[in-house]
């Protein structure tokens, strides 16, 4: 469980990037963190694995204050996948990239190679195992970055913009992977601009704006709330927009609900 209490952070004095943020994310939750560029989303998640320490307030992960733990300890529990895979990938081959953290965390060789095989398969990277990560496409590098974190099996997974450059099939694969991880009890936190992905797959949404939490609740409620979306400079998911254009009494982000509402209204 992650508990953020009254956290403020500024990279330079006087420019608060996080301004008294409080929230908590329980074990096994599937959460989206959305908001315009510069809202503080990435800064917030860097607090979850101790990359950044709060300048005011506290962040605890399973009861441990992040100021009292090293990044190496926290990283075992909280796996952070960066937005730009090039900031993360460095090994000579895809396979070495995947096994790096496992070796560092002292995972026995047999277990490590089982996990590497799992990741190559789950992320459709098998044919590239001996290639340099630099020769992969943008979407493939993104999947490799995610795979290299999932490989060492952290309890909490934080992904920054995982759907960038992924086609609709890869997005569905990613979604079913997230759901499976979540079903197995993992906490999954996704920072994203992809409103369609949130609307379709993620039950809880936290909206950030200008360093603060603007709203926190069910995606189904927040993503049809015009006032919230507008004040955070977010565009609505398509189904919400369709609901508004059609003047539906109950705007929805669920395809069946929208189709049924239109059919009902036309009868």
């Amino acid at each position: 469980m992650i508990v953020v209490r009254d956290v403020s952070y500024a990279y330079e004095p006087g420019r608060q990037v996080l301004d008294s943020v409080s929230l908590s994310i329980g074990d096994g939750e599937l959460v989206a963190l959305i908001g315009e560029n510069g809202a503080g989303k990435t800064t917030l998640v860097k607090h979850f694995n101790g990359l950044l320490k709060p300048q005011r307030g506290t962040v605890t992960v399973d009861g441990t204050d992040t100021r009292e733990a090293t990044v190496a300890t926290l990283a075992r529990k909280v796996g952070l996948v960066f937005q730009n895979p090039d900031h993360q990938l460095f090994a000579e081959t895809v396979e070495k990239e995947l096994s790096f953290a496992l070796a560092n965390f002292g995972v026995p060789a047999g277990e490590a190679s089982r996990r590497v095989e799992w990741a190559l398969e789950a992320f459709e990277l098998g044919e590239y195992r001996n290639r340099s990560p630099l020769t992969l496409s943008g979407g493939e590098r993104k999947r490799l970055a995610l795979a290299s974190v999932l490989c060492y099996d952290p309890q909490i997974i934080v992904m920054d913009e995982p759907t960038t450059g992924q086609d609709s099939r890869q997005k569905s694969r990613l979604a079913s992977l997230l759901t499976r991880l979540n079903d197995s009890g993992k906490t999954v936190i996704t920072v994203t601009h992809d409103m369609e992905f949130v609307a379709e797959f993620i039950p809880r949404t936290i909206i950030m704006s200008r360093g603060k939490v603007l709203a926190d609740g069910r995606s189904a409620d927040l993503l049809v709330n015009r006032a919230y979306l507008e004040s955070a400079s977010l565009l609505p998911p398509q189904l919400a927009e369709i609901s508004w254009e059609l003047g539906l009494a109950e705007p929805s982000i669920d395809l069946e609900a929208v189709v049924n509402a239109v059919r009902g209204a036309r009868r």
């Binding site: 315009e36 086609d167 601009h193 977010l234 398509q238 369709i242």
Partner: protein, 282 residues
């Protein structure tokens, strides 16, 4: 423009990257007329980026590999023309603007291309200020590209190409790294440019942002052109659904409502709403 030739002519192009066993493009033929706005999409690895790189000669000139067929841009063949001749005709914008901007100020960045054409100083100045004002970033002229947001950087990359006065802009997922509001703003710049006569070829997965704007839509699959036509034809086809591109939700809803829906096949929520209103009135 050479009489009888389209602005872009791609004839029977097949291509494999060096050291790659399988071809990325297989016998692709395609032509584009001046003023078109072409949306290109398809699953990852279908050859979209490779296709873009063929249109400004990066492939095969800089990449090597095995290339057959012809690409003519405004009548000149990409394989046997000097790069500055191609660059005056076709500009390529990549996904990540950080990787292509390198000057210390926006002004110098945009001036770089025309300087390399050895144009007179006054002409360079004129082109820079025109390009910046076209994309709406004149106020950023003296900033360093590094201090700009992703959306602003992408606009600088577009302005830098516009200063070359190309006839066609080819953009490979230019909004992939941008937040939705910045993405929308980059796309409205493209729409304006197209209205002023620049041919646009854009690769994008988020079809809902472009379905209404594009005049033509092309889906690549496994290195071949699988579908090519108006967005209405292509995005409503069963094949598009089978290939698995992200069909806009307005189309998904319209298809579910089925034949009861009057009028043209709607491409956006706005069009869907007006089709339904017409249905009620009728």
């Amino acid at each position: 423009m050479v009489i009888g030739l389209a602005l872009i002519e791609v004839r029977g192009v097949s291509y494999s990257y060096p050291d790659s066993p399988s071809p990325c493009l297989i016998d692709v033929s395609f032509s584009a007329e001046e003023g078109e706005f072409i949306l290109v999409t398809g699953p990852s690895g279908c050859g979209k980026t490779t296709f873009c790189k063929c249109l400004n000669g990066l492939i095969p000139n800089s990449y090597g590999g095995s290339f057959t067929g012809d690409v003519l841009i405004d009548g000149i063949p990409t394989t046997s023309s000097p790069i500055h001749e191609i660059a005056r005709r076709a500009g390529l914008v990549f996904q990540n603007p950080e990787n292509e901007l390198f000057c210390t100020s926006v002004e110098r960045e945009v001036a770089f291309g025309p300087e390399n054409l050895a144009l007179p100083r006054e002409e360079i100045r004129r082109r820079v200020s025109e390009a910046l004002s076209t994309v709406g970033i004149s106020h950023l002229m003296h900033k360093s590209p590094e201090e700009l947001s992703g959306g602003e950087q992408q606009k600088v990359a577009i302005a830098a190409l516009l200063a070359m006065k190309p006839k066609v802009l080819v953009l490979d997922e230019p909004t992939a790294n941008l937040d939705p509001v910045s993405a929308k703003s980059v796309i409205s710049v493209l729409s304006r440019l197209n209205a002023s006569g620049v041919t646009i070829i854009i690769v994008e997965h988020r079809l809902e942002m472009l379905a209404e704007i594009a005049s033509r839509c092309m889906i690549l699959d496994c290195g071949r052109i699988a579908l090519d036509g108006s967005p209405r034809e292509v995005l409503y086809s069963d094949l598009a659904e089978r290939i698995g591109v992200g069909i806009p939700k307005a189309i998904v809803v319209a298809k579910r409502l089925g034949r009861g829906l009057p009028g043209d096949r709607p491409l956006s929520s706005r069009e869907l709403a007006s089709a339904l209103r017409r249905g009620e009135a009728a």
